[in-house]
């Protein structure tokens, strides 16, 4: 059995760093826990679900996907693009983050194999930390997950001996490559967080597939103010916008995160907007996650991490919407 004392996690981070990995880990930055590049001396913040997810490592919020040198004549020539895919370990990701990877893999390899995403995915090892507690926004057990779920992870750290130690369980070849950095030991694993299932996601999907025009949506989305906070924090949301930005010498094609919560997202050049109000946009968000995505990719586009509800000032909570939908379907 491989074990590590929980207060020795920075040592493991340091060992990984020495072995040539970029280490990304949850760090408390002035009260906001964020997955960020770990550097020596930083403590790992394990008590809160970080505000961002592993998605940020694989699919950054803004990325240059093409460059063009501009000529005075008005012409242009494509310029070489350096792709950055450093060898990375995400240390103490959440099982709900790792679970998102199959949903992301599916879309980034669907009709087009996305080079940047796949290069980073291949270079990234995800070490999850099983959750020993859940808060009122967590609902992984409603979307086929578990507080100690292993889906998508290369290794799992399981709290043991009353939270004093962690048991390291390798789950893939990438995970096994890290085994040598953890010593042998003995520990009794703790029970993972107990989390009651809040809704039947399959039943929600069935209702969604045939209630596009339900008056439910008008009331359900009244509080939504139409920002992108939920989509950007979501470990699965992956919509992006392409923008060309240039100075006199060069044009850069940017891929920026985008959100179906924005009115601009579907606005046509003609002025027509097929999703004319926030209820249509909230319906899209919920329907995409629980009906369209499972039909297309056999997985929900939601892992129950609860980030969206945790940070929404307007109190929009997708689990609550799903509970109401399940009740409507009965």
């Amino acid at each position: 059995m491989k074990t590590i004392a929980i207060d020795r996690l920075p040592d493991l981070a340091q060992a990984l760093s020495k072995a040539g990995y970029r280490v990304v880990a949850p760090v408390d930055e002035g009260g906001v826990v964020r997955l960020r590049e770990w550097t020596k001396g930083l403590a790992l913040a394990l008590d809160a679900v970080p505000v961002n997810s592993v998605k940020d490592v694989l699919f950054p919020r803004s990325e240059v996907v093409a460059r063009f040198a501009l000529e005075e004549s008005g012409g242009f020539t494509p310029a070489p693009l350096e792709r950055s895919a450093p060898k990375t370990v995400v240390l103490c990701a959440r099982p709900c983050d790792a679970a998102a990877l199959s949903a992301l893999d599916a879309v980034f390899n669907w009709d087009y194999r996305d080079g940047s995403y796949n290069a980073r995915r291949a270079a990234t090892t995800v070490v999850s930390l099983a959750c020993f507690k859940a808060d009122e926004h967590c609902f992984c057990t409603s979307v086929n997950g578990a507080p100690d779920g292993t889906a998508g992870a290369d290794a799992l750290l399981r709290p043991a001996d009353g939270g004093k130690k962690l048991v390291f369980e390798a789950l893939s070849d990438k995970g096994r490559q890290l085994e040598a950095m953890v010593s042998d030991g003995q520990a009794v694993p703790d029970a993972p967080a107990a989390l009651k299932r809040r809704f039947d996601s399959a039943a929600v999907g069935r209702w969604l597939a045939s209630n596009f025009e339900s008056p439910f949506w008008k009331e359900a989305a009244l509080a939504c103010l139409g920002c992108g906070a939920c989509a950007y924090a979501c470990p699965v949301c992956h919509c992006f916008d392409l923008q060309d930005e240039s100075d006199k010498k060069e044009c850069r094609r940017l891929r920026n995160w985008d959100s179906c919560g924005f009115g601009l997202f579907t606005l046509h050049a003609s002025g027509h907007n097929p999703r004319p109000d926030q209820s249509a946009r909230w319906r899209q968000r919920v329907t995409h996650k629980f009906s369209i995505y499972p039909q297309k990719f056999k997985t929900f586009a939601c892992t129950g991490c609860g980030r969206c509800a945790r940070l929404c000032q307007a109190g929009m909570a997708i689990a609550e919407t799903c509970e109401r939908i399940e009740a409507l379907g009965r």
Binding site: V32, S62, A223, G228, Y232, D277, C312, Q313
Partner: protein
């Protein structure tokens, strides 16, 4: 207090002076709740944990289609309602305020009444002590240190625009950050684009911001946006005697011009 608020809201709905009451819900986090039936007014609540500025909903087309409305409004929200009136964003007589403060229900007011209430009962609303301390703390730093501080903070911005959505003053149907012919602000959630966006957002609020704190509360990344707002509030007050939210006919500093303004910077 809660009883008086709920009764007043129910009465407005009964008398059809409002078809919808926008208030704070009696649940954790105190999110917005929309009540259209008098018998549902028991869902309304107000206490110090209410963080949203409900006047932000007046810019939402779905709610503008359901006028007249009444809005539960602590002093900063009352000021926002007056600012929106001064900026012609509220159809006359279509929005009423259910004024609240700490543990008191203060009554039902239209924009003129709200301004009068503010002038008599809350004549000097400004940044709270804790916010002034944050500003003072930052002011001790050198210009280079401050620039480094903001660069580090703005680097965290993901451009989700939760700050904009939470703010009643951000009601433009097409924000300048989304204009691309020409493109004024880089769309990349990085470096100078983030810097420009955050500073520009704050500048557009100068002399209009009511210091409600909703933008900062809404920021998932915890950016200290109120520090920017407080500094601009101070400058707009010192330079232009801007007291947003006290006069429903007052002209916003950023939207007006006077021959008496200081033009010495133009050379």
């Amino acid at each position: 207090m809660m009883k008086a608020l709920r009764e007043a809201a129910a009465k407005l709905l009964q008398e059809k002076r409002a078809v919808l009451v926008i208030g704070y819900a009696d649940r954790k986090g105190r999110p917005a709740v929309f009540v259209s039936k008098p018998e549902d007014c028991g869902r309304l609540v107000y206490d110090s944990s209410c963080r949203q500025n409900l006047a932000a909903y007046l810019g939402k087309p779905e709610l503008r289609a359901r006028l007249p409305v009444a809005v539960v409004a602590p002093p900063a929200v009352l000021r926002s309602l007056v600012v929106l009136t001064a900026e012609s964003q509220i159809p006359a007589g279509q929005v009423l305020a259910l004024a609240v403060d700490h543990d008191a229900f203060l009554g039902v007011f239209d924009a003129a009444g709200a301004a009068e209430l503010l002038r008599s009962k809350f004549p000097d609303l400004g940044p709270e002590k804790a916010l002034l301390e944050r500003v003072a703390e930052l002011s001790k730093k050198s210009a280079a240190e401050r620039a480094a501080f903001w660069a580090e903070e703005f680097a965290k911005c993901t451009r989700c625009y939760a700050c904009r959505a939470a703010c009643p003053g951000c009601y433009c149907s097409r924000c300048i950050v989304e204009k691309n012919a020409p493109q004024w602000v880089s769309t990349a959630a990085l470096g100078h684009g983030n810097y420009t966006w955050n500073v520009m957002r704050a500048f557009h609020q100068s002399g209009r911001c009511t210091l409600c704190g909703a933008c900062e509360a809404a920021c998932p990344q915890g950016l200290p946006l109120m520090v920017l707002n407080a500094v601009l509030d101070r400058e707009a007050l010192a330079e232009f005697d801007a007291r947003p939210g006290y006069d429903p006919e007052g002209k916003p500093v950023i939207g007006s011009w006077s021959a008496e303004d200081d033009h010495s910077y133009m050379r």
